[in-house]
Symmetry: C2
Subunit: 87 residues, 2 copies
């Protein structure tokens, strides 16, 4: 759970998720969208994967990344509790 929050803190990683929300992309395509080195993006992808926010699958020499939203439900639930009115 902490891993999920930590993954979501970084703006680059949130943007990656936003992009993956629209379409699956491979690592190179993702890296192209940012002004950051490929290894650095690879690192961000790793953090997202460890948090369970993306999945990766190798196709030939490409690695295709897909968003995985199930863990986000937990985050939503926590927020819902916080927002919920005190009785």
């Amino acid at each position: 759970m902490n891993d999920v929050w930590d993954a979501l803190t970084d703006p680059t990683r949130r943007e990656i998720l936003m992009m993956l929300k629209k379409n699956d992309m491979n690592a190179g395509e993702i890296a192209e969208k940012f002004d950051i080195s490929k290894p650095s993006i690879s690192h961000h992808l790793n953090i997202l994967r460890n948090a369970g926010l993306v999945r990766s699958e190798k196709h030939g020499q490409n690695v295709i990344y897909t968003i995985s939203t199930s863990v986000l439900e937990d985050v939503m639930n926590i927020l819902a509790v916080l927002i919920e009115k005190r009785k």
Copy 2:
């Protein structure tokens, strides 16, 4: 918005929010609940306040903290977009 995510990353700060969800508390009461120095808690409270997640009001020599959830709606919305199915 970044400030909100950053504020939410830290487990101590999330726990503070959970506590404040139940009741308003003053700085000392909050600090007592953790095994962390008072200045450190003060620092966390400052980050929460800058993110708009709490408000503080001085009553005598106590400072009473209250949760403020409106910014959390924005976070919820971002998560909702991410979770939303691709069409």
